[in-house]
């Protein structure tokens, strides 16, 4: 999944023109709202959390339960769309 990160390393699914793009497999199949609740700090770079730890990698900055709810709704919408499509095809 191609994502973009801002100056605070927060992830976005679209580029405002000054963001950096990365391919992050961890976000494959994830909803935009889920992705945008994460930070991605590329290898070799660090982001300092409020406690002073220099962090890297992939980690959520929004509440994980909320992100999981976003993802569950996203999956339900996709499944509903697929079911409707299948029903449409079968009716032809």
């Amino acid at each position: 999944m191609k994502i973009y990160i801002d100056a605070d390393y927060k992830c976005h699914v679209s580029n405002d023109g000054i963001m950096r793009a990365f391919e992050v497999p961890e976000f494959d199949g994830k909803s935009p709202a889920f992705i945008e609740g994460y930070r991605y700090i590329p290898a070799g770079e660090t982001w300092t959390n409020p406690q002073g730890a220099k962090c890297s990698g992939v980690s959520p900055w929004r509440d994980l339960n909320l992100l999981n709810e976003f993802q569950a709704q996203y999956v339900a919408q996709i499944n509903a769309a697929r079911a409707a499509y299948t029903e449409g095809v079968n009716s032809i």
Binding site: A43, N49, A53, C55, S59, P60, D63, L64
Partner: protein
């Protein structure tokens, strides 16, 4: 309009205005000095500053109060009489007195009029000390006025209850006032005198844990649990009490590497290594090397891990899993890859947004790929 300005431009502030604020905020007590001592017939109040009913005064020469012999108790009190003389050259509004009672709780009620209202004459008395007496005179000080503490009496505004590792010391500070726990039992209650941002810190001399608390409302009570950093693996120590031991599990990574294969674990004196295995010629395998126990990350702000692996992104990766799904990526909520292959790497993963229990581990992709770990530390 009938309003009197006090601390306003061109308005006259009375001493009682100033004292009223102090009276409402600070309990009666000693401000500085005022050592107390006694002989059988004399009670001595040393020089220093006192604050009574918001009125501050200095004792510039020791006060000696005669104590009569008898049976029971003598109470020394200070009396403020705002009807007394108070001129540029003389001051006679503060005096000390003594009265007697058979029991500690049978003294006559002290006069405590509102001396800071209406600028009129009024009397306010406060107990300075109580001595036990016998037929020779004073024998002991039973109780005495304390140094003023903002946390005492009317200074209470809110409270912070702290649970911390036993054996540690806890402090609570807003940068102006610092309170320290009176013991190291593992639980402490701090009375907070006003709204502010308070920092609660526990330390055992080596480890430190801290939390920031916003006190915004009167009678607010906040509970804080402080915990120190802890290891899940450290230099040959599997930290079994926490980790439950480090084990392998067959778990596919994703649809590209769907086949699970249990990694081989080698325990060295200071490191632990997991090596990927594959059934036959299967080239799409993945294994999980992890702490058997789920770890509660609610208080963990970040995880620091030192490891190296045979590959970088996605192939020898530290992962935090919410549970076990069909594939590892189904439940991976955070992760960290080394920046270079076959090179020791120390990294931190921010876990500030994670609450509840999670598995901590690494994925080892394909046969003969490996990860080797030196330590994994949860930082609270």
């Amino acid at each position: 309009m009938s309003i009197r300005g006090s601390n306003f431009e061109n308005q006259h502030p009375f001493a009682s205005d100033h004292a009223l604020v102090w009276e409402r905020c600070i309990p009666d007590g000693l401000l500085y000095g005022v050592d107390m001592s006694f002989t059988p017939t004399l009670f001595t109040i040393g020089t220093g500053f006192m604050l009574v009913a918001g009125r501050m005064f200095e004792i510039t020469a020791a006060e000696n109060i005669s104590i009569s012999p008898g049976s029971g108790y003598a109470r020394v009190y200070v009396a403020i009489d705002t009807g007394g003389a108070a001129t540029e050259n003389s001051f006679n509004q503060v005096t000390f007195g003594v009265d007697y009672a058979a029991n500690l709780d049978s003294f006559a009620e002290l006069t405590q009029e509102a001396i800071n209202i209406n600028q009129g004459a009024a009397v306010y008395q406060a107990e300075v000390a109580v001595l036990s007496i016998d037929n020779t005179g004073a024998t002991a000080i039973e109780r005495q006025m304390e140094l003023v503490s903002p946390s005492a009496g009317s200074g209470a505004f809110a409270a912070i209850a702290v649970t911390y590792p036993a054996g540690s010391t806890v402090t609570v500070t807003d940068g102006k006032i610092t309170y320290t726990s009176s013991n190291t039992s593992g639980a402490a209650l701090f009375i907070i005198p006003y709204a502010a941002t308070w920092t609660v810190t526990a330390t055992d001399g080596t480890e430190t844990a801290t939390e920031t608390i916003e006190i915004t409302a009167e009678n607010q009570i906040v509970s804080v649990t402080l915990a120190y950093s802890f290891y899940v693996y450290n230099l040959g120590d599997e930290c079994v009490d926490v980790s439950g031991g480090w084990v392998g599990k067959a778990l596919g990574l994703n649809t590209e590497f769907p086949t699970g294969s249990v990694p081989k674990i080698t325990k060295g004196p200071t490191t632990i290594t997991a090596t990927g295995t594959a059934a036959g010629s299967n080239t799409s395998t993945n294994g999980l090397f992890y702490a058997a126990n789920k770890i509660d990350l609610t208080k963990v702000k970040s995880i620091e891990v030192k490891f190296k692996g045979s590959a970088t992104a996605g192939q020898s990766t530290f992962r935090i899993l919410s549970g076990f799904g069909t594939y590892m990526v189904d439940t991976a909520v955070a992760g960290l890859s080394p920046s270079a292959a076959n090179t020791w790497f120390v990294g931190n993963v921010d876990t500030g947004a994670l609450t509840g229990e999670f598995y901590l581990g690494f994925n080892v992709l394909l046969a003969n790929r490996y990860i080797e770990m030196e330590y994994l530390k949860c930082i609270c």
